[in-house]
Point group: C2
Chain length 550, copies 2
Amino acid sequence: MDKKKLRIIPLGGLGEIGKNMMVLEYGDDMLAIDVGLMFPQEDMLGVDLVIPDVSYLVEHRSKLRGIIITHGHEDHTGALPYVLPRLNVPIYSAPLTQGLISIKLKEHGLLDTSKLIAVQAGEKRSFGQFKVEFLHMCHSIPDALGLIITTPAGIVVHSGDFKLDYTPVDARATDFTRLAQMGGQGVLALMADSTYAEVAGYTPSEQVVGDALRHIMADAPGRVIVTTFASLISRIQQVIDAAAKYGRKVFVIGRSMNETVRIAQELGYLQSTQGVLSRLEELQRLPPNRIVLLTTGSQGEPTSALVRIANGEHKQVRILPDDTVVLSATPIPGNETLINGTIDSLFKQGAQVFYDKIAQVHVHGHGSQEELKLLINLVRPKFLVPIHGEYRHLSLHAKLAESLGIPRKNSFVLEDGDILELGQDGGEVVEKLPVGNVYVDGIGDIGHMVLRDRRALAQDGVVVVIVAIDKSSGQIVGRPELISRGFADKDEEDALMGKGRDLLARVLGRGDGHLSEASHVQGKVRESLSRLFYDETKRRPMILPMTVMV
Amino acid sequence: MDKKKLRIIPLGGLGEIGKNMMVLEYGDDMLAIDVGLMFPQEDMLGVDLVIPDVSYLVEHRSKLRGIIITHGHEDHTGALPYVLPRLNVPIYSAPLTQGLISIKLKEHGLLDTSKLIAVQAGEKRSFGQFKVEFLHMCHSIPDALGLIITTPAGIVVHSGDFKLDYTPVDARATDFTRLAQMGGQGVLALMADSTYAEVAGYTPSEQVVGDALRHIMADAPGRVIVTTFASLISRIQQVIDAAAKYGRKVFVIGRSMNETVRIAQELGYLQSTQGVLSRLEELQRLPPNRIVLLTTGSQGEPTSALVRIANGEHKQVRILPDDTVVLSATPIPGNETLINGTIDSLFKQGAQVFYDKIAQVHVHGHGSQEELKLLINLVRPKFLVPIHGEYRHLSLHAKLAESLGIPRKNSFVLEDGDILELGQDGGEVVEKLPVGNVYVDGIGDIGHMVLRDRRALAQDGVVVVIVAIDKSSGQIVGRPELISRGFADKDEEDALMGKGRDLLARVLGRGDGHLSEASHVQGKVRESLSRLFYDETKRRPMILPMTVMV
C-alpha cells in the first residue's frame, strides 16, 4: 500500500442499484460513505435484503473514523442496523436523515448504543486526515448532502444522489456556487451519481408532479389514493399542498408512512397547513371527494397497504367505483410484474389509475446526462469515479466525461471490492477485495450454496428416498419409500414414484455385494432415479437419498 | 345459449401478454383465432411455457371449423404444437406464417399429420356460417393479417397485431381502404389490439430503426453484433440492407435465427443482395469492420447466443475491444433483469452497446393511442372488444373509445374464459369458463399445487426428517435423522439439525402412548420443528417427516 496515495474502495453498489457504500482510505484513516441495502433480485430466492460485505472495515476498524450518510433513502441507510454492531463508529448525517435512521435503529434495539451526529450543509468536520465540508444537493428527499473531502492527496468531491432542480419543493437548490469554487481550486477526483446516465437531457423539476397532482385532485369525482415511497418527503408535501388547495384532507395509511411523516413533521420538513393531515377516525365523516389517502406500495410489495387494498384484503379501505389511484413512483427494475399486477387489480375493481406510463405523476430524483455534464463542467475534476449505478450506467458516465475532454484513462469504472489508488499523476486498481453480497434471510444471513439449492428446488422440486438396509446382511429391507414435492401433478407423481420404487428395488436388490456404505447406496439411488425421471419428464428434481440401517 | 347471438370467447391472452387466443361461436360453428404461448413469469418456477387451456374447444371439437393464425410471432403461433394434437383441425395462415409454423410442427413431429392452408390478403374463406376476408395489416413481421368476419349477427373486424406504418420495410401499408369500406357498411364489433394503449401519440415507422442501424454500421470501428427476435424479419432485412450499404457481410448465429432466415428467403420475404448473407466459414477471412453478426438473445435468454457471447462461453464468438453490440428489441416485461445483466457483461468486456434506452434501435410493432383512435374512426364499430393486452391496456383502450363517442357500456373488457353474447341490441357476459393457465414443464404440464410447493421450497428450503419406530413397542428407535437443503449455511445448519434432533427425541420419546400412527408422528414432527426453526431463524422451511416402521 502506497502511504502517499488516496484509496477509493467501493464496498457495495457499483454494478448494481442499491447498497451504495464507498470507502476512502489514506494512511491510517478510513472514512465510509453510505451503507445502503438492496432488495433481492428474482434469483435470490427467499432473501429479504442484500447488504454490503464490510469485512474489510471490520478488519481495519481501528482506522475507521466514521460513517457519513448523504441522505435518508433506504439504499443509503438501510444496512446500518446490520453492520453497525460490527463497526460501532459515529454516524454523521443531516437532521432529517438522522431522524429516519433513528426509526430504523430503534426498531433493531440499537438506538441507545449508537452515536448519531447531526451536521448541516456548510459545516466542516475532520475525520483524521480527511476534512469534510457538507454541501447542499437537491434530491427527492430534503437534507441531501454532497461532500467536499480534502485529503493529503487532493480534493475529492462526492455528489451524493443529486439532480439540478431549479424549483424544488423545499426551495433549496443545489449549491452550484460552492461546486464552481471547488472547480476553481482544482479537484483531484469527482465521485458522481450515475443512476440516470442512460437518460438524455434534463430530469424535469419536481414541480411537474405538483401540477399533475393538482389536476388529478381537482378533477377526481371521489377519493384520491396516492402511493409513493415512504421516504419521498417532498412528494408527500406536494400531496398535502394539492389536497389543501382543493379542500381535501389527507389520511396516512400504514406504519412506515406514518413513522416518516411523524419524524418529518417533528423536524419541520413537512408542513401541514390548516390541519390537512387528519386522523383516520375522521375518514367516515367526510364525503369521498374530500378525501386523499396516502399509502406505500408503489413497488407492488405484497404486504403493502396498496396491494392489500388492490386485492380487497385491507381491513379499513376498499376500492370504490369513483376512486382515483395515483402511483407516484417508477418501478425499481425487477418489480415490474408485481406493479403491473397491482395496477390491473385496481382497474378490475373499477378505479381510475394514473401511473408513470400514462401521466407525469413521478419524476426521478437523479440527474440526467445534461446534469451530469454540468456537474463535471463545474467541478472540473482531474479524475472521474462514476458511482451509484449498474455497470452500464458507470460506463456511459465515463463516456459522457470523455465527450467533455476527460480522457478515458482518467475515468475509473470500478467494481465492488476494487481498491483504486489515486494520486495527482494517475490511478490504478492495485487489489481486488473478495467482497460479495451478504444475503439477509430472517435472522442472520445465508450464502451462495443455500441459494443454489433453493434455485434447484424451485426448478423441478425434490424427491426424497428412504432405503432401509439390514445392518448384518447388508441387504435392502422391504421396498424403498419415495415422496416428492414440486415435481409432478398428483397422478403423474404417483405413477413416477411407483416406477422409481420398482427401479430401486431392482437396482439395489441385485446384490452386488454389501450395501453397508451409505454413500455407495446414495450414489446408486441418485444416478438411477435422475435418469428415470429425466427420461420420463425432461425434469431434474433434486434427489435426496437417505439410508436407515436397521 | 342464444342461437341468434354471436359468442366471443377469449381463451387466453386477455389480462396478460402472450397466449393470444380468441374463439368465435355462432350456432353450430366455431372458429379459433391465434394460439400463442406466454413465457413464464417469475413466480412460475421451473415452468418452460404457458399455453392456453383449450378444454372448451376439445369439448366442442365437432363444431370447430378451423384455426386462423394472423401472423408468425410466437405469441400467436407458439402453442400450436401442444394443442393441435387435441384439436386436429386445419390451420389457415398467410405463406410466411405457414413457413414459420411448419418449422415448429416439424420439430414436434406433427407436420405430416397437420393440415396447413395458405391464404392471401384479399382472399375470402367460409368456416361454416362465418365468412372471413383476410386483410393486409402492417406489423413487425411481413404477412400479418386482419380479419373481416361476416357472421349472421353482423360483421366483426379483428385487427390482428397492427401498427399504421406508412413506410414499412416491405412497402406494404395497412389496408385503410378496405377498413374504411367496412366502416361504411356497418360493423357490429371491432376486436382490436390493445398492446400499446398506454402509449400516447403514434408509433414511429420501422424506417427510424433503419436510419439508426445505418449510422451504427457506418461508424463502428469493428464488428457489429445485432441481436433481435428471430421472427422480426423486417428487422433482419434492415440489418442486411444497412450492412450491404457499408460493405459489410452478415453472418447468422444460432439455430432458430438460421431457420427463420432460411424460410423467409425461400418464400421471398427476405432479400439478400450481392450475397451479403454469408456462411460462417468466411468469417475468419474478413477484417472486423466488414462483419455483422446477427443473433438471438435480445431478452437475455440464458441459453441464447448473445448471452453466451456476453459471458465468454460461446464457442465461435468472443467480444473484441472494438465490437459494437446492438440490442434491437425492447424487454418483454419480466425480462429486464436478465437483459440488464447481459448489457452489463458486454460493457465489462469492452464492447460499445446500443439498446433501446440510449438509441432508437427498436420501434414497437403495435399501434399507439392515435393509431387505435384512427382504427376505431375508420371501422366505426357499434361495439369494441379490446384484445391483446394486460387488463390495464384493455381498460385504457375502452376509455380511448369512450373519448371517441363509443359509450362505456358498448366496450367489453373481458377476461379469459368470459363468454360474451353479442347482438345488434347489446351484449353481456353470460358465462365464465374455468380456464386457467396450462404450465408446460419438460414433457407434459403441471398444476397449481406443484407450483405452490416450488414456491415454498424456493422461499426457505426443505428439511427432511426420518423417524424409525419399533412396530411392536410403538417406541422411537435410535435418534431421528434430519437433513436440509436451501435452509441455512453449513455451520448454522449443523447446529439447527442438532437442536431439531434433540427436540424430537424429547417430544417423541415422551411416550404418550403408541407411536404407531404415522400421521400422528408426522404432525408432531412438523409442529415442533416449525416452531423451533421459526424461533431460531424467522424462516419457515418445508418440513417433510417420514416414518419407517422396523
